[in-house]
């Protein structure tokens, strides 16, 4: 097959992006790593077309997002009741999260603690709200696209995103004040 050296560079360049997308959608690091691995294996199987392509990053992001949505659909829906119960139980726990160094000036507006607080708050949102919020704000999908992908009504998506923002706002009031809104 192809030479693996450029692919290794590709993996190293995109691994943070792929893992971020997966962990924010799935809210589980082990599952996110599995999904990221699967996304890169698919990239390797299409490497002849992807090598040197300017759209390789977008392709990889779309594949990761779809793998996550399939994963959530396949493994979580039947356990919805139980996961929601356990999520409520975990509200008091604070998980240690790591962050890459900020690469733009804007990112210095949030401190390391605030970023950690926000990521933790996102992870603790109910699944429907979290997935809709991440797809809207991180994946830049519009309401209609999200509703189509998730197979739910437009109204539910708007409500979920609104509630997610409200929940974040309540949990992050100090961070919100410090970024000036």
């Amino acid at each position: 097959m192809s030479d693996p050296a450029p692919f290794e560079t590709f993996v190293l360049n995109y691994q943070d992006m792929v893992f971020s997308t997966a962990v924010r959608l799935l809210s589980n690091e082990a599952e996110a790593e599995d999904v990221a691995q699967e996304a890169f294996l698919r990239a390797w199987n299409h490497w002849e077309n992807l090598a040197g392509s300017p759209t390789a990053g977008g392709w990889l992001k779309t594949v990761t997002r779809n793998l996550c949505l399939n994963h959530l659909e396949r493994y979580r829906s039947r356990w919805k009741m139980f996961t929601d119960l356990s999520r409520e139980d975990e509200d008091g726990e604070a998980r240690e999260l790591e962050f890459a160094a900020p690469d733009t000036l804007d990112q210095t507006l949030l401190t390391q603690d605030q970023r950690r607080l926000i990521e933790t708050a996102i992870q603790k949102l109910p699944k429907d709200q979290r997935v809709a919020l991440v797809l809207y704000h991180f994946e830049d999908m519009d309401y209609a696209d999200i509703a189509k992908h998730l197979g739910v009504s437009l109204g539910k998506i708007k409500t979920d995103i609104f509630r997610a923002r409200e929940a974040l706002q309540k949990k992050l009031q100090p961070a919100r004040e410090s970024v000036g809104v």
Partner: protein, 153 residues
């Protein structure tokens, strides 16, 4: 525009600005080695262990030709032999398992109706109560196992 819409828009703007500031979460150090090891293993494995889509092109073509030949052989040699036995016998052979299954289901249904007709109402209610208790017991046990498994991760 009313006040609610204004608040909603301000909230959306705040959320977008705040969330867009978040940097990427660094991937675990194990991710890249895991991917590269799997790819190396995949490359080292023989062609017949790979998915058909990843077989060498000439083997894909050969496999399609072989499979087509096999299907043609089945069509050419097996079907005439079945026809020679006779269509009525063939039909019986194919439908026998289905009719047996329906026969068994019919007998079980009749037995269930007979039991229901000859059983007191309170006995039936007790049996249904025990079944419901066991069923919800299983769900509760499953929920407990799931919660323990989730917490241990």
């Amino acid at each position: 525009m009313n006040e609610f819409q204004n608040n909603e828009e301000r909230l959306a703007t705040w959320a977008d600005r705040t969330l867009k500031q978040l940097p990427a979460r660094p991937a675990p150090a194990t991710l890249a080695p895991r991917v590269l090891t799997l790819i190396a293993r995949q490359a080292a494995s023989p062609w017949y262990r790979k998915p058909w889509m990843n077989w060498p092109r000439h083997l894909q073509i050969l496999s399609v030709l072989l499979f087509s030949g096999l299907m043609a052989a089945v069509y050419a040699f097996l079907l005439p032999q079945l026809d020679a036995v006779g269509p009525a016998v063939n039909a019986d052979q194919w439908t026998q398992p289905v009719s047996t299954t329906f026969g068994v289901l019919g007998t079980l249904g009749n037995a269930a109706v007979a039991v229901l007709r000859n059983t007191q109402g309170w006995v039936l209610a007790s049996v249904l109560g025990v079944i419901a208790t066991l069923y919800f017991g299983c769900i509760g046990l499953g929920a407990a196992c799931w919660r323990i498994a989730s917490n241990s991760r």
